[in-house]
């Protein structure tokens, strides 16, 4: 059994900002149904202030993944795109009071979805499909991403 902090339990049992924004300014999707896990992040940006004014998520994943997504949306609210870009999965884990080592990767999906969403916002890219061989079967995390996360932590 995973040793989850009260914060994780809280955000798992009462996830904030669940859902999908209609006509969003940005969409980030990570994962696909074939491998099993997914996170869809949508947000609206105030074009004048460049700040995120509304954000919602949908996650198919474990308690850590759900709690991480919920926290991500909380962290994103009111941030400028530049500020949002600086959020790391470590920030998410820290906010949760830590995640079990084996579950650190669950916070990566949030970070990945955010990156996709920002690219989408900037018009650089239509989201979807991470690259690299999928090594976490439960979770669509690319090898490249894991290495990056491992270095960051």
């Amino acid at each position: 059994m995973w040793d989850y902090t009260e914060k994780v339990k809280d955000h798992f049992l009462h996830p904030r900002n669940v859902g999908e924004i209609e006509n969003p300014d940005a969409v980030g999707i990570i994962g696909n149904i074939v491998c099993g896990d997914a996170l869809k992040l949508t947000f609206k940006v105030d074009r004048k202030t460049n700040r995120i004014i509304d954000v919602k998520f949908q996650t198919f994943g474990c308690a850590s993944a759900i709690a991480s997504s919920s926290v991500l949306t909380e962290l994103l609210k009111g941030k400028t795109i530049e500020e949002a870009q600086k959020i790391t999965n470590q920030d998410i884990a820290d906010y949760l009071g830590g995640l079990p080592e084996e579950k650190m990767h669950c916070s990566v999906m949030g970070k990945e979805a955010l990156e996709e969403a920002i690219k989408n916002y900037k018009g650089e890219k239509q989201p979807i499909e991470p690259q690299g061989r999928i090594i976490c079967k439960c979770f669509n995390v690319s090898e490249e991403k894991i290495r990056k996360v491992a270095q960051e932590n």
Binding site: F60, C62, A65, C138
Partner: protein
């Protein structure tokens, strides 16, 4: 909060009578059964009584029973004994859906140069006898095939397989950990050479097991040292747990009727209700040939760990084949071998009952589960698409 325990394939509560039977052996009759003095020596006879009780449950002779420390040790011992006593043979056959105590031991053998064939199962978890017939050869040291699967409850046709192997004089071991005490089995009708059982699945404690070794089967011990268990398993006997296992077997012999009646009734009620009240739910495994206590259900678009944690809020204990619940982050090898879709493996939940479950416990699960699944689907992107009719890829 009251615990509603639906995880009896993982482990069971020790029966009160079993605990009572063990208690005198910690502080009163604590002697070593190998001792010369009466104080120790009298224990030896108690162990022999327990051996008779175990033998009775599976229809063997007492001296065909070796006490071990767990199902895992029994499995390791059986396989290694066949390997040691057939030194020139380098092929082992097993299935893709065995417990890790067989599967990982076979992988260990592979590293040592053995050839291991892992037989496939079909989408209902059934073994195809044909696939076995095709791989039998003269190099075969052992076939090890479980009797009932721990995750799905699917029962393999061990009797039929045994006859095929007996004809070909191949050593045959079956891991019967999950079937013993749940359905009647009798080694007189079951052409197996070795059979594993484990105490903590039948209301004896964790840390005791047994291995049945048919008379005449060549045997080589796995734990090596003193002369205990007639030289077949060294180590000072776990006297208390041996006596507890004996008692548990005695009780099991009587309560098997309850298992196929009462327990099956509860399981069916639970299963049927969940299937009707939760959309996109389906049974994993062959409904026709299944343990009476086990129900493995996949709830699509949601994740097993999340389901378990929400059930946990009500004190309900179950388990999941989801990768997220396992230390290795690998989803259930059993459901994968059955070709279950990944989304369905993720959302798989196993309920496993025992004679100690009550109807109102089942009612509670029936009450809370549909809401749990619905709420999780509201969070899930796939659930959303499904709910809003946008469809999803598979």
């Amino acid at each position: 909060m009251k615990t509603l325990y639906f995880d009896n394939n993982a482990t069971t509560q020790v029966a009160q009578e079993v605990l009572d039977s063990m208690l005198p052996y910690f502080r009163e009759f604590y002697g070593n059964p190998s001792s010369m003095h009466t104080f120790g020596g009298q224990i030896y006879r108690k162990i022999e009584e327990a051996r008779e009780q175990v033998a009775l449950l599976i229809g063997s002779d007492p001296d065909e029973i070796i006490f071990t420390s767990c199902g895992t040790e029994s499995n390791n011992t059986a396989i290694m004994s066949a390997i040691e006593t057939n030194p020139t043979k380098k092929h082992v056959i097993t299935t893709k859906v065995e417990h890790p105590a067989v599967l990982n031991f076979c992988k260990h053998l592979s590293r040592k140069g053995y050839r291991v064939t892992y037989l496939p199962v079909d989408s209902k978890g059934r073994l195809e006898i044909d696939s076995l017939l095709q791989v039998i050869d003269d190099d075969l040291a052992l076939v090890s095939i479980m009797h009932a699967n721990n995750e799905t409850g699917v029962i393999f046709p061990i009797e039929k397989i045994g006859h095929i192997l007996k004809e070909r004089k191949v050593v045959f071991h079956t891991d019967a950990v999950q079937i013993v005490g749940k359905l009647p089995i009798n080694v007189k009708d079951l052409p197996v050479d070795m059979l594993t059982l484990s105490g903590h699945k039948i209301h004896a404690p964790k840390g005791i097991g047994a291995l049945y070794v048919r008379k005449g089967t060549r045997f080589y011990p796995y734990l090596i040292g003193g002369h205990q268990e007639n030289g077949r398993r060294a180590g000072t006997e776990n006297v208390a747990f041996i006596i507890g296992l004996g008692k548990a077997c005695e009780i099991a012999a009587k309560s098997i009727q309850k298992e196929v009646g009462f327990v099956k009734h509860l399981r069916d009620k639970l299963e049927n209700s969940l299937l009707s009240n939760c959309p996109d739910a389906s049974i994993n495994g062959d409904k026709e040939n299944r343990l009476p206590n086990t129900s493995n259900i996949s709830f699509e678009f949601v994740e097993g760990e999340a389901i378990l944690l929400l059930l946990n809020e009500y004190g309900i204990c179950a388990s999941s084949g989801s990768a997220c619940t396992s230390g290795s982050l690998e989803p259930s090898h059993v459901l994968r071998a059955m070709g279950v879709r990944n989304t369905a493996i993720h959302g798989s939940v196993r309920f496993s009952l025992s004679r100690y479950n009550q109807e109102r416990e089942v009612d509670k699960v029936i009450e809370v589960m549909p809401e749990i699944i619905k709420n999780l689907r509201l969070i899930s992107p796939f659930g959303q698409e499904r709910l809003t009719g946008k469809g999803y890829a598979s």
